[in-house]
């Protein structure tokens, strides 16, 4: 009888506890969220595609370059030190193309670094809301112009201008100076907007500290804000250089077609990218020296920009002035 009663009691109370606990447990149970899973998968695929593409490019470049360097007549030491580039007749010195690229890049940076940084300082530290509202869109238009247009701008405006100033007999129709200067104008918006982002990210409290000490706007900008944003500015510069090294259309149109080992920026010289564009634009038989050489040069360009990127990461972590 007692047993019966207790059983009865248990039956009455126990199920209540169980059901409420079960309800809680089921409330807390891990949900399956198909939307979340889908998005996660999609985002992963996006990231994976860019990595796969990079790997594919590296693979293809390396494969074709190995064909080039595997030829008995091509020696790596000649490739890197000889000053004549005529693959079809067995001269494999890449230096003329490298010096031309170095010159156009140098002049591009000579324009875009100081002007880009100055414009960024102006936009972030000095410009009124109104001036900024006009200037930023204009700079963005500059960034949106196709590079081939810049190429013809170099050829039909910058070159005649240089010939006018420096004399027709001194300046060739195609020259690396003109291409480099116009390339600098092209890269300017990139350097400017990246530098400006870095400058604007510097907290207002640092500017106030400087102003509070009786600093002028210039002192504040140059001695506090720019150093604090230095790592971002370096990154902007390096990306600008990578862009200049890789730029093709302007140099193809305005720098000259034909390798020329010279350090005179007023003479025509073909850059690495210009060479690739010219050779691949013509009739080209597979596995000829010309064909294989463009991959070797492509690989070299890739190595240069990759090292620049690695360098920029190093510099950024080295010079970072952390402001919390």
């Amino acid at each position: 009888m007692e047993h019966e009663i207790s059983k009865h009691l248990v039956r009455q109370t126990a199920p209540v506890v169980t059901s409420s606990q079960e309800a809680l447990a089921s409330k807390l149970r891990m949900r399956f969220r198909p939307g979340e899973t889908l998005i996660m998968g999609f985002l992963f695929v996006c990231g994976a595609i860019s990595i796969a593409t990079t790997l594919g490019i590296v693979f293809e470049l390396t494969k074709e370059s190995l064909l080039f360097f595997g030829k008995p007549e091509v020696k790596l030491i000649d490739f890197l030190t000889k000053t004549t580039w005529q693959p079809s007749i067995g001269n494999f010195g890449v230096l003329p193309l490298v010096t031309a690229t170095a010159m156009t890049t140098f002049f591009a940076m000579l324009i875009s670094l100081p002007l880009g940084l100055s414009a960024a300082i102006y936009l972030s530290e000095y410009a009124s809301q109104k001036a900024r509202g006009i200037l930023k869109p204009v700079l963005e238009i500059l960034a949106g112009i196709p590079t081939v247009v810049y190429g013809y701008f170099a050829l039909t405006f910058m070159t005649p201008l240089l010939r006018l100033i420096l004399g027709k007999e001194n300046v060739q129709i195609y020259n690396t100076l003109s291409a480099g200067l116009v390339m600098g104008i092209m890269i300017l918006p990139l350097v400017c907007s990246m530098s400006e982002d870095a400058l604007s990210a510097v907290p207002r409290s640092l500017r106030e500290a400087a102003y509070g000490l009786g600093a002028t706007r210039l002192e504040t900008a140059v001695r506090v804000v720019v150093p604090a944003a230095f790592s971002g500015i370096i990154a902007a510069f390096i990306i600008g250089i990578s862009r200049a090294v890789g730029e093709t259309m302007i140099v193809a149109v305005a720098a000259g077609s034909g390798p020329n080992f010279t350090f005179n920026p007023l003479k025509a010289a073909e850059t690495m990218t210009g060479y690739i564009a010219r050779i691949s634009g013509g009739d080209l038989a597979y596995d000829t020296p010309d064909y294989n050489s463009i991959f070797a040069i492509g690989l070299m360009l890739f190595v240069i920009t990759l090292s620049l990127n690695i360098l920029s990461r190093r510099l950024v972590s080295r010079f970072r002035e952390v402001y919390e």
Partner: protein
């Protein structure tokens, strides 16, 4: 031009107020943030500005060294006189004003540079004469920070604790040799021990400097200041000064009901 040379005792000794606010109203756009302010600041004293949030305390403090100039739409009516020279006269250069009236901010904001460079920075841009090492040591000693950092002068200022950073910011302000130091809630981001250190430091500094401090903390005002100005908000949301007196009087014998309510914790 301000007819004043730093460190000339004749003006400081003269029988006038170091800062005098005359019928000042301040506006952000069309909004009147502070109205009809009259205030006289005594030299070599600590003046506290207290009041509830939004009553314009910081706006008033920042008006003294023209830091509000950076705020779009801000303008001021009336005069703020520094040794009888109106700081808002059209020919006055705000940069020069800030060299003579320094500021310490709410959150410690050292430059992301070394401790040494932080102190030397202001002195250098202002062309303060003398050996820089000596200036740095002297001001760090004045700011009661020297013993803690003398072996780490080349280390980043950001490695210091919050309280040390704030004393570094005080040292940095002192290195410019200002006459007045404005402090905008300098202890609000600090723990109680660091706060007491700053208060002791203020007391020591008041021998040579005039200090004006905005604080949310009434105990701090009561402990650390000689004079107290109590601000509140009018029904039209403009900040007004209710009462200005010695700190003792404000906290023991306030004249205005609003002051009494505030300091006794019934409001704000």
């Amino acid at each position: 031009m301000i007819n004043y040379e730093p460190n000339t005792p004749n003006l400081s000794d003269a029988n006038h107020n170091i800062l005098e606010v005359k019928n000042v109203s301040m506006y952000y756009g069309s909004f009147r943030a502070v109205k009809d302010l009259n205030l006289k600041i005594q030299p070599n004293k600590i003046t506290a500005i207290i009041g509830p949030s939004g009553c314009g305390k910081s706006t008033v403090l920042r008006a003294f060294n023209r830091m509000n100039d950076f705020v779009r739409g801000y303008h001021l009516e009336g005069e703020i006189c520094f040794h009888n020279q109106n700081l808002y006269a059209p020919e006055v250069d705000p940069v020069q004003v800030r060299k003579m009236i320094g500021m310490v901010f709410q959150k410690p904001n050292p430059f992301p540079k070394s401790i040494y460079e932080n102190v030397a920075w202001g002195a250098r841009i202002n062309g303060i004469p003398g050996n820089m090492d000596d200036i740095v040591e002297q001001t760090l000693r004045q700011a009661a920070l020297w013993d803690e950092v003398k072996d780490d002068l080349r280390k980043s200022a950001l490695a210091l604790s919050g309280g040390q950073q704030q004393r570094l910011c005080i040292a940095r302000a002192l290195a410019v040799k200002p006459e007045i130091i404005l402090m905008d809630e300098p202890c609000s981001a600090l723990d109680p021990i660091a706060t007491l250190k700053i208060e002791d430091l203020m007391r020591e500094l008041s021998v040579n400097y005039t200090i004006i401090i905005v604080t949310h903390n009434m105990q701090q005002a009561a402990r650390a200041s000689d004079y107290t100005a109590f601000f509140t908000m009018d029904p039209d949301r403009a900040g007004v000064m209710v009462e200005f007196d010695t700190t003792t009087n404000i906290f023991t014998n306030p004249h205005d009901k609003r002051t009494e309510d505030y300091i006794s914790g019934r409001f704000g």
